[in-house]
Amino acid sequence: MTPVQIVFILCAVLILGSALMVVSTRKLIHAALWLIVTLFGVAILYAILEAGFLAVVQVAVYIGAIAILFIFAVMLTRRELRDKSPQLRKNWGAAALLGLLAFAGLAFLVTSQPGVGRTAAAMPDGLDTVQALGKSLVSPQAYLLPFEVVSVLLLAALIGAVYIAFTRKS
């Protein structure tokens, strides 16, 4: 057990535990807050994987925008602040079974592939991942077009969201 492995295991426990809380807790606002914990854990994972930029963006975008949006939505869609009735559907057992089956299948697939036990490739010397990422996002020879397309998608989604949620004054 190296220290990194210990950190990974702690982080994994944090992620999975909070994710379980997200899907099982009765108070919806707590679910959203637990989601933030999960997202934070994933950010730590990114840091472990030496993707610092993504770790920070994960916090800024996911926690700073998406999770807050969730909390807003939760608050806007209720009369009382507490959820008292059960939040799971009646047949949640079947869903759990399906989830477990899917996990078993995925785990089987993952472990049966050759080379999953490998350790990380060496970081090339002098590679500034942030710079490389930036360059590949704006280089026409790399991912400029997908990047632009996605930005247009985002714009369209925002306009759509504003339009949908807009209260029309009749």
């Binding site: 190296t2 990974f8 994994a12 992620i15 994710a19 379980l20 997200v22 899907v23 919806l28 679910a31 989601l35 997202l39 994933v42 994972l45 994987l49 030496e50 993707a51 930029f53 993504l54 996911y62 925008a65 998406i66 949006l69 969730f70 807003f72 939505a73 939760v74 869609t77 939040q87 799971l88 559907r89 759990a96 989830g99 899917a102 995925l106 785990a107 993952v110 999953v116 036990g117 350790t119 990380a120 490739a121 090339p124 991942t129 490389a132 990422l133 590949s136 790399a142 997908p146 996605v150 998608l153 985002l154 989604a157 925002l158 759509g160 969201a161 504003v162 949908i164 949620a165 209260t167």
Partner: protein, 103 residues
Amino acid sequence: MSIPLSWFLILSAALFCIGLFGVLARKNAIAILLGIELMLNAVNINLVAFWRYLDPAQMAGQVFVIIVFAVAAAEVAVGLALIISVYRRRNTVVADEIDMMKW
């Protein structure tokens, strides 16, 4: 780094399936979206892990993650707007009760 790749993959599979459970089992439409977020994050873990373990000089994995971020933001914006708009008209956010095309 001394962590085998399979750890990340198993973790991501587990997170994905928890998200799946959330999507399938929760009543509240917002909670379903929460589950979808978990699933997207599981995918992202995979992408970053493969980037790191296979070829760090090739930025495809990270670029994909950024695209997933954008898509997630778009999805949440539109999804939540829809839910709020439905709530205004129907006073419910339970997914099972929103089962008609028109009302």
